[in-house]
């Protein structure tokens, strides 16, 4: 893979990665959010594949396939399952499947994402300067997705959106790790992935329990939990 091909493919993967992250803020339909997250998983996998091909490392490509399978396959599947579980009694399924009233509305959220992207670019300049190259120049993208993920956590009400926000942060951390180093050891990546999987399973259980207790998954209902 020559230099320009490498740069273009990497830019494409990173672009898809960023776009999927920002679009999560735009869509209200939870099923669409999960699809966007799966798309981002594919983009992340592609990014790592490109890096692996560039370094000629079969090992890294194998890791990429694993990362992709987890983030584009298993995790979205688990979230779909939580989403498709019918609410007990005659719950309002239509209400439940949508992010109806985010704390910050969609237009403002997109503007905020733009501001966060600016911050991310400004902050990661020292990292880019360390060793300029296509991979390090993509670090701001990963940082933007991290901030967007955090923003989703802060402003979205549904438990599933929270899970997605959390996973966006994790995707961004993984992307940063692969972009700034020449491949993460397999053990570390396995550990992180297992951690994420466990967190999602726990959050899935939480979602189910919340539905059983309150009939909805609005985290605003959890206000009573303070001393």
């Amino acid at each position: 893979m020559n230099d320009s091909m490498y740069a273009q493919w990497l830019a494409l993967a990173c672009g898809a990665f960023l776009l999927a992250g920002v679009l999560v803020l735009w869509r209200r339909d939870l099923a669409a959010i999960v699809r966007l997250f799966a798309l981002q998983g594919v983009a992340l996998g592609a990014m790592v594949v490109v890096l692996g091909l560039r370094q000629g490392s079969v090992h890294l490509v194998a890791v990429a396939v694993g990362v992709g399978a987890l983030r584009a396959g298993l995790l979205p599947y688990l979230m779909r399952r939580a989403l498709d579980t019918p609410p007990p009694g005659n719950g309002t399924a239509g209400e439940e499947a949508r992010e109806t009233r985010p704390l910050v509305n969609v237009a403002t959220s997109l503007l905020a994402a733009a501001v966060l992207a600016l911050v991310a670019y400004a902050v990661s300049q020292p990292i880019v300067r360390l060793s300029p190259g296509p991979a390090t120049q993509a670090v701001p993208v990963a940082l933007t997705v991290l901030l967007v993920g955090f923003f989703v956590l802060v402003t979205r009400r549904r438990a599933l959106s929270q899970v997605v926000g959390f996973l966006l942060i994790d995707n961004a951390i993984t992307a940063t790790a692969f972009l700034t180093t020449s491949g993460v050891p397999l053990v570390v990546e396995l550990g992180v992935s297992l951690d994420v999987l466990l967190a999602v399973l726990v959050l899935q259980v939480l979602t189910t329990r919340m539905r059983a207790a309150f009939g909805g998954t609005d985290l605003g209902e959890l206000r009573e939990l303070h001393d």
Binding site: L116, V119, L153, V154, L222, R223, L225, H226, D227
Partner: protein, 685 residues
């Protein structure tokens, strides 16, 4: 690996093996396993310390045991002394714990933590780098906290004591961590050898000393950082109280000596500032006075012993402070003498406090109470415990032939002989210090006469005391061992003085041995071995001869009284004002015994008394009931800690508005902090 290294490794291995095995065996034999394992580890540890005191140095570096820094261990005579003391206390506590644990303490956590606690206390004096010391220190804090909380299900006070202890020990850790981290940063290395070679600027050096002094002093229970001690020591199981009070508090003394006299050596070339050591002397003096005063008016037997620990640690710090002060004034001989006195008092205090706490535990075990006002009459019911407590009380009251007398006499000698040549500060401080030592010794006599007389003699003041039975043999064995140590230290302190002199040599290099075979008017090989000669000043003492003289005098006196009294003896009823037979409630109680003292020190103690009179309905002159309630609060604690706690509480109440229960709000705090920080980083070039 040489002798002390091998022995210390074996001791630590025994502790670890016991801790791993104890949870696995059935509850019936668990206390025996844990107790014997702890005792064996203690014995081996004491041997390791003894070997180090005999001059076999040892050091080891285990780079793989802890990440980043590794573990550095070393035993020099000073560390060996504290290892040996800890080992000795662990032997007594281990044996005693076998019987004491039948009292519902055979649970897995308690029995597995006990050997780990001992292991951590063996490690602290053997640590030779900052990280090793801090890890061992924290292990000691956590294991002792778990043991303090062992009986939390039975008394509500245990939880509060544990909280106080946890907070204060960790604040102490922070102070030590800050001080030693500052020292290590200045030395560009954290091994003790590098710290010794460091040259810190004066301001940094003072800060390091003050921070570590505060941290270590809080562990030693020095006023005003003592607030946890009279809470935690009484509430812990009694063998744990013994370990804490006789071994753990010593680590504070060790830390102050190690940092102030050893590790800061390179930084204080040309003499450490004299005010450091005057501060130590003053803190020791205040602790000695306040501790023994509170002990004198306390009616709770274990609380009394806890305050007595504060007093004795105060005396040790006075010796240490005097030693440092003399060293700065260029009087190495006196410095060495004061330091020997301080270290000898550490050993003596460990011996008698082990014995006293175990005896108090034995009383608690038999009667279920620690309140002296409802005890009494135990002499007939628990003869061995009574005899053993008497030995401990004699030692603690600093009277000959007890072992406490020897070290306090040495301390007084060093202070008195230094007065002429110590400048203005010394001329003011040292006479005061002499007065404090003398007064605390006098009050200690009153305190222990009260504890022994009211607690064990006369008639039982409650049915619980009346039903008391003697403790099981293992408990008596543990106490007996401690009593033997007391007796040995009382009669033959000359045996361990060479080891102490070596420990002093590590702290004050170049100082001549403080005591030694100087030919005096009465000399000869037999006299040399039993007599302490103070070199440089005219002073000799032979504890063995004093003891023999005291015993002979007592025998003569008792014989004379018996012979004289036998002639005119006549039996009659006691005068009881005509109201009938006197009841046990008419006896002196601990409170009434201490009342005159309380009156004398009224301005210091500020006791609170409350008299509640309930008259009969028909007449205001006929009284139905009078209720008298007396309380001596810890005034320093109330004045010093009260405002701080109130302020923290107020801040906490106000901060509650920040946490309204909304998950989004909590997440937003994190989000804004992160983005704010990032923006700040982006703006600042």
């Amino acid at each position: 690996m040489n002798v002390p290294g091998t022995l210390l490794t074996v001791a630590l291995g025994l502790c670890l093996a016991t801790a791993l095995l104890a949870p696995a065996v059935p509850a019936r034999i668990r206390p025996a396993l844990s107790g014997l394992g702890t005792a064996a580890a203690g014995a081996v540890g004491a041997a390791a310390g003894g070997a180090a005191m005999a001059g076999h140095a040892w050091s080891a570096w285990l780079p793989d045991l802890l990440p980043l820094a590794g573990v550095r261990l070393a035993l020099d005579p000073l560390g060996g002394l504290f290892v040996a003391v800890t080992g000795g206390v662990a032997v007594c506590a281990g044996v005693y714990g076998i019987g004491y644990a039948r009292h519902g303490l055979s649970g897995r956590v308690v029995q597995a933590t006990l050997p780990l606690f001992v292991a951590s206390m063996l490690l602290v004096p053997a640590a030779a780098s900052v990280s090793t010391l801090l890890v061992a220190w924290e292990l000691m804090a956590i294991t002792s906290l778990l043991l303090v909380l062992a009986e939390h299900g039975r008394r509500t006070a245990v939880g509060g004591a544990g909280l106080w202890y946890a907070v204060m020990t960790h604040l102490g850790l922070i102070a030590i961590l800050a001080g030693l981290a500052g020292l290590a940063a200045g030395a560009h290395g954290e091994a003790f050898d590098q710290l010794r070679a460091a040259h810190l600027p004066p301001l940094a050096r003072d800060a390091v000393f003050l921070a570590t002094f505060a941290g270590f002093a809080s562990k030693a229970g020095v006023v005003p950082l003592h607030a946890w001690l009279p809470r935690a020591h009484p509430e812990a199981p009694s063998h744990v109280s013994a370990l804490m009070s006789a071994a753990m508090v010593n680590m504070g003394v060790y830390g102050i000596a190690r940092v102030g006299l050893d590790l800061l050596r390179g930084s204080s070339e040309g003499g450490a500032p004299a005010w450091w050591w005057l501060l130590v002397l003053a803190a020791g003096g205040v602790s000695a006075m306040y501790g023994i005063l509170q002990a004198a008016v306390s009616a709770d037997l274990k609380r009394l012993l806890g305050y007595s620990t504060t007093e004795n640690m105060g005396l040790v710090l006075m010796g240490l402070g005097a030693a440092g002060f003399f060293a700065t004034r260029g009087a190495p001989r006196l410095a060495a003498l004061a330091l020997v006195a301080a270290l000898l008092h550490v050993v003596n205090h460990a011996a008698f406090k082990t014995l006293l706490f175990q005896a108090a535990g034995s009383v608690l075990y038999a009667t279920g109470t620690r309140d002296l006002d409802v005890l009494g009459g135990l002499r007939a019911r628990m003869p061995y415990t009574t005899a053993l407590f008497a030995i401990g009380a004699l030692a603690a009251s600093a009277l000959p032939p007890g072992n406490g007398f020897v070290s306090e006499w040495l301390l007084l000698q060093s202070l008195v002989h230094a007065i002429p040549a110590s400048g203005v500060a010394g001329a003011v401080a040292l006479p005061l210090a002499v007065g404090v030592v003398a007064l605390s010794a006098g009050l200690a006599v009153a305190t222990f006469v009260k504890a022994f007389g009211v607690g064990f003699l006369a008639r039982p003041r409650s049915p619980e005391a009346d039903r008391a039975v003697e403790s099981p043999p293992s408990m008596l064995g543990g106490m007996g061992l401690a009593a033997l140590c007391c007796a040995a230290l009382a009669l033959g302190p000359t045996v361990i003085v060479p080891g102490l002199a070596r420990a002093v040599g590590t702290l004050l290099p170049g100082a001549a041995p403080a005591t030694g075979p100087v030919s005096g008017p009465v000399s000869g090989p037999a006299m040399e071995t039993v007599t302490l000669h103070l070199s440089g000043i005219a002073g000799t003492m032979s504890p063995l001869l004093i003891a023999a003289a005291v015993v002979a005098a007592i025998i003569l006196l008792a014989g004379a009284v018996r012979m004289l009294a036998a002639r005119g003896r006549r039996v009659a009823r006691l005068w009881d004002c005509g109201v009938g037979p006197m009841s046990a409630r008419m006896q002196y109680t601990a409170t009434s015994f201490a009342e005159p003292l309380q009156r004398v020190f009224d301005d210091v103690l500020r006791p609170e008394t409350d008299v509640d009179v309930t008259p009969k309905q028909e007449s205001a002159y006929l009284v139905e009931r009078i209720r008298f309630h007396a309380l001596v609060p810890d005034r320093i604690e109330r004045r010093l800690y009260g405002p701080v706690l109130a302020a923290v509480d107020a801040v906490g109440r106000r901060a509650r508005a920040l946490a309204n229960g909304s998950v989004h709000r909590y997440l937003a705090y994190g989000f804004w902090t992160l983005t704010g920080l990032l923006i700040l980083l982006a703006v600042i070039p």
